[in-house]
Subunit: 61 residues, 6 copies
């Protein structure tokens, strides 16, 4: 059941596919459960909805 | 204040309405608070953003 | 894969068991997936870590 | 690293900008870390995806 | 219903009380709802359970 | 700022350290940001607080 929630910016499907495989690999090493047990949720956030250091990402530069 | 976050695939409004009522019922039985206290957040995820067993849901089949 | 996160106060194991069954029932009706697909995470929060209306729950009354 | 996730309804960019600044201010007072450490994620939910008191927000009035 | 989840390190009750008030203030300015609508969940994480830059916080220094 | 939340069972510090390194590696490949940008939150859940298939993990076997 380990469940992973990833919040980042937008990603291409290829990047998501690779990320999903690599994260699952990392989880398998840690928890030692069958691969089918791991669930990954990818959330793509726009720069308008993320603040770092008191500033929205869309306001940087 | 019990707060429930539900991550699944897309649902019709009818399904959401029914789900919301049933989850609130289940929470009332457990926590015994007035119905107005329960908050439910439904997140609809596309198959591209969910990984199960190291594979994106959109790649299955 | 639907994943449910429940944030509330402390519950007895009996209450958790019943809640888990009832929530899974509600999810099955909505998503129509085999029961084994549903994952529920229960988080028990102390009154010191929950704020409602600008006030910590532990400060009420 | 303090990370804040905010689930509410839709907001204008101006409101998000102000919210981000004010939340970061509040976090700085509590945790005393350099401003760059604070991360805020704003999630905008439609009334169809939020339930309060067993009812979807989009069904109210 | 806006719900805020805060993940940081441990805090004293006094700090939590102040944080809860200040965050609620910031939310009120943004969403314009009655104060009773805002829910805040504070999660206190140990350095062993937080990674920044590929390193656990408990391993720093 | 990518933020990862991992919900699983208890882990030793050694396992957490390795997991944190491997997850950060996987994130770097996907997002291409400097390592310091990635934040990982590990949540350790007891079998009493996790339901799979309508059953608490602590009730299995």
């Amino acid at each position: 059941m380990p469940v992973v929630q990833i919040d980042g910016g937008p990603l291409s499907v290829e990047k998501k596919r690779e990320l999903c495989g690599n994260i699952t690999e990392a989880l398998s090493t840690a928890y030692g459960l069958p691969k089918s047990a791991y669930i990954i949720l990818i959330r793509e956030n726009t720069g308008e909805n993320v603040g770092v250091g008191g500033e929205l990402l869309c306001d940087r530069h």
